[in-house]
């Protein structure tokens, strides 16, 4: 059982900055995120895109902002439960919340801060009739442990950066790697595209363009894939131990929907004074909340995190008076 003061759902910019703000008032935090790495949208969707509206940074790459926020949070030793989705909450007798993830990891805290952006990211799945029958039986949507594919025959499909990056990485690990792409050009980084083309030219991987996987066969586990070529509609069978479709992720509000929170469209309604929700002890900050005048900006999420932490402190320690301290005066007292 993981115990903390503030359980933060979502390790995006807003969740990460909450750790820092909470640390300043001596509250410990633990972050939960369905993605295997911190950063939320910034890491998952646009790590190499510039952001121009972070105060004090005329320009910062999204990925670099995440790196800096993680470093800024580090003195306060946040815990991380990554690659797991916050699934279920339960109020305990002592007033704390027990939060269980989809993998069964249990967390206990008096306060939950939902900083889940647009929800949890789920893989986009290609439309292959019996695809779901082979999930965890040869079909993976996310590469968690590359060692799993050592000396195996792997087929990857997709044309973006993750498809290219994993093709390059697994070329040295797997017995064989076949990359299947629906088009003839890739939209990943130029150097990744070049590497993939070089690997194909040297016979290290097999590149199948203008094609897609249209069928999966096997008894109890994946055995072979049917690949349709768009030029001539010819179907080729390729034997495979693993099929990894990498078509990006799209966010879904997910289990939060069933927590009896006051929802408005896809957002959680909050009191704009402290970003508390209709449930005592649960707050919502950043892109996921809604109040009159709401702006979905990272900088607004930072502001909300600072105010929310003050209120959370009052909620946890109703008898303690909090005096605002300036970091310039007091410094950062690491845990």
């Amino acid at each position: 059982m993981i115990e903390t003061d503030i359980l933060i759902i979502g390790a995006g910019p807003c969740g990460l900055f909450t750790v820092f703000q909470a640390g300043l008032v001596q509250l410990h935090c633990h972050l939960i995120d369905s993605l295997p790495t911190a950063g939320g949208q910034l890491t998952e969707i646009y790590p190499k895109k510039p952001i121009y509206d972070i105060p004090g940074f005329p320009i910062v790459m999204a990925g670099d902002l995440v790196k800096n926020l993680t470093k800024q949070a580090e003195p306060f030793k946040p815990g991380y439960t990554l690659g797991e989705r916050a699934e279920h909450i339960e109020k305990m007798e002592d007033g704390r919340w027990k939060l269980t993830t989809n993998k069964g990891t249990e967390h206990l805290a008096p306060v939950i801060a939902i900083a889940a952006g647009l929800g949890c990211f789920e893989p986009r799945k290609p439309e292959i009739p019996n695809l779901i029958d082979f999930e965890d039986k040869g079909v993976d949507y996310i590469v968690k442990d590359p060692e799993k594919y050592r000396d195996k025959n792997v087929v990857i499909s997709g044309g973006g950066d993750s498809a290219l990056d994993w093709t390059i990485f697994l070329a040295d690990v797997a017995k064989s790697v076949t990359l299947i792409h629906r088009r003839t050009s890739f939209r990943g980084h130029l150097d990744s595209v070049k590497k993939v083309n070089d690997l194909a030219a040297n016979g290290k991987i097999k590149l199948v363009l203008n094609s897609e996987v249209t069928g999966i066969n096997g008894v109890g586990k994946l055995e072979n894939l049917e690949i349709t070529n768009f030029d001539n509609d010819e179907i080729t069978k390729v034997s495979a131990d693993y099929f990894i479709p990498l078509f990006g992720l799209s966010p879904k509000l997910g289990p939060l929907k069933h927590w009896n929170l006051n929802l408005h469209k896809e957002s959680i309604k909050v009191n704009p004074q402290d970003y508390s929700t209709n449930i005592p002890g649960i707050y919502a900050i950043g892109d996921i909340n809604d109040y009159p005048g709401k702006l979905r900006l990272i900088l607004c999420g930072f502001h909300e995190a600072a105010l929310m932490v003050q209120s959370a402190h009052k909620y946890i320690y109703p008898d303690k008076n909090l005096v605002l301290k300036y970091t310039t005066v007091s410094g950062v007292k690491a845990f």
Binding site: Q41, I45, Y46, K49, L118, R124, P126, E127, G158, G159, G160, R182, R183, S185, R187, F247, G248, S250, P251, K252, L253, K265, E266, R296
Partner: protein, 110 residues
Amino acid sequence: MEAVININITDLLGNKHQIKVPTDMGLNLMEAIRANDMQIKATCGGMAMCASCHVVVCNSRALPPMSEDEEAMLDDAFLLDIPYSRLSCQLKLTPELDGLEVKLGEGTGE
């Protein structure tokens, strides 16, 4: 040429809406839909990186050609094969688009 144009939008429930959009603010269609309080997911905020602002164009208008990014994103999201698919965040609203009719596509709601 009109400074304010009309755009007709059919939402996911099949309801039709007409919105008036000024053409002097550099808005794209996704932003115009949002500005009129209609639900559209548009996760990435307009970078052609998520396809959750997908629309299907219902009447022919002189639409700007797709960029490579837009085409590749639609393809990645398995939407390119749907005829007249576009990413609304990539459609800049100009006077020529007065009377444009679109349907919100799959992936724009929950």
